[in-house]
């Protein structure tokens, strides 16, 4: 857990790279994927993180950003004839994302370009750091990260502000705010330690609780 306290007139995105470099230098650890919101969109920083620290940053696309030709919208990639393409994976050696047709009934059966079409297309990650990057935004992984993992931060922030009372403190200096913020981190870490190390309390009624029956049809 790395926290920064800054005046509200500072931009959010400037804290992304220092946070990851701090993790690498002091903790000898970096996350594989960072999920941020649109405030952290910075294509140059995103490229540096991908190439230098091997960290993937997944964010939503800003509404006024220009899409490459292959995209109808940010979540749908299609070929020239309109067939939807799905992400097949990143080939690390060549640094190429491969997209292909995975529909069970594709339009390719009736396409006049079928004989000359490879049906799989590659794009380098640096073609667009948000749409391709390390994890393409249109992929199911990227969508799931934004939809499910991202929502957990709201509960974390709400806990610190409401339960720990950060929003009720009388904060009249940046230094005091730093101290209180880092103490709140200490409590969050103490809770995490308690959760991971305390023995689980077994439910007394566990044996008689209803559970899903599994049928083995093989």
């Amino acid at each position: 857990m790395i926290s920064w306290i800054a005046p509200a007139n500072r931009d959010d995105s400037v804290f992304l790279e220092p946070s990851l470099h701090y993790c690498a230098r002091h903790l000898a650890w970096t996350p594989d994927i960072v999920v941020g919101d649109m405030a952290y969109v910075n294509l140059h920083a995103q490229r540096r993180l991908r190439e230098d620290l091997h960290v993937a940053l997944v964010t939503k696309l800003k509404p006024n950003m220009t899409l490459p030709e292959a995209f109808d919208d940010a979540h749908t990639m299609t070929c020239e004839q309109g067939q939807v393409l799905r992400w097949l994976g990143l080939q690390e050696l060549d640094q190429l994302h491969w997209f292909g047709v995975t529909d069970p009934q594709p339009l390719c059966l009736w396409c006049w370009q079928r004989s000359s079409c490879p049906q799989q297309f590659s794009f380098p990650p640096n073609a667009h750091e948000i749409l391709y990057g390390t994890i393409p935004l249109s992929s199911s992984v990227g969508q799931r990260l934004l939809r499910q993992a991202r929502s957990w931060i709201e509960a974390t922030q709400a806990y610190e502000k409401n339960q720990l009372g950060l929003s009720q403190f009388f904060l009249n200096s940046l230094r005091l705010t730093w101290v209180v913020g880092l103490l709140a981190d200490t409590i969050a870490l103490l809770r995490a330690l308690a959760i991971t190390t305390e023995p689980k309390s077994a439910t007394l009624l566990h044996e008689i609780m209803p559970r899903q029956t599994h049928f083995d049809f093989k």
Binding site: M1, D32, G36, L145, A149, L166, T177, V179, A184, L193
Partner: protein, 221 residues
């Protein structure tokens, strides 16, 4: 009353590993830990506080002067109490400490009549350096990071939130509009109209200036 949100607590790097596992652990967590603010949570968290490290970081060199009545670990624990109890104020915690047995037990204070006062806590807070606080957090973080090695991918989430502050020093700058860089046609047309009016004004003849003085009214004659 209008509260201006000036300071921002930025970051909140939470570690989550493996999508399915995250949410199973998360739902179990909330049910197992006692409610924040209760004595049960204080008792549970008390055993994880690294007292030795805290004493080593903030130990004062012995010498002449006022004797040290409380250890840095005791003062650090009291400093945590405003966050862990419903009294979200350092002064209020000091006032309520004699009445709250579980708070004193958390702070390792055995005698209810010998408690640190507001000034002692203030002095201790001024000695808290950010690097030292980060050092405490890093020690707490080490076992958690070791646990992440068994997962294929680690996911971090970054976010920022606003905290209300009682200062006028830092004003929040509203984000710049990124929708359109150039002037809109309506604004551009209005500017052209103003320019025409301006030109018309400038082309009017100027009536001021020096006229030729009559010799009769000149002082030198």
């Amino acid at each position: 009353m209008y509260l201006r949100r000036l300071l921002r607590k930025n970051g909140g790097f939470g570690f989550w590993s493996g999508h399915a596992r995250i949410f199973q652990v998360g739902s179990a967590i909330m049910k197992r830990l006692p409610t924040t603010g209760t004595g049960a949570l204080l008792e549970l968290l008390s055993r994880y506080i690294p007292d030795d490290l805290i004493n080593a970081l903030w130990r004062r060199p012995s010498g002449p002067g006022r004797p040290v009545l409380f250890s840095p670990a005791q003062l650090f624990r009291i400093t945590l109490l405003p966050l862990l109890t419903p009294a979200h104020s350092f002064n209020l915690v000091t006032e309520l400490l004699p009445e709250q047995r579980s708070w004193r037990s958390f702070a390792r204070l055995r005698n209810r009549h010998a408690l640190p006062d507001v000034r002692m806590l203030h002095d201790f807070r001024t000695r808290l350096q950010l690097t030292q606080l980060r050092r405490v957090n890093e020690q707490l973080l080490e076992p958690l990071l070791e646990g992440t090695s068994r997962f294929a991918k680690n996911v971090a989430v970054i976010d920022s939130t606003d905290l209300p502050a009682a200062t006028n020093a830092y004003k929040k700058i509203p984000p710049a509009s990124t929708v359109r860089i150039g002037p809109t046609p309506v604004v551009a047309a209005a500017k052209r109209d103003r320019a025409v009016i301006s030109l018309a004004t400038k082309s009017t003849r100027c009536g001021s200036g020096f006229a030729k003085l009559l010799p009769a009214f000149c002082w030198c004659h």
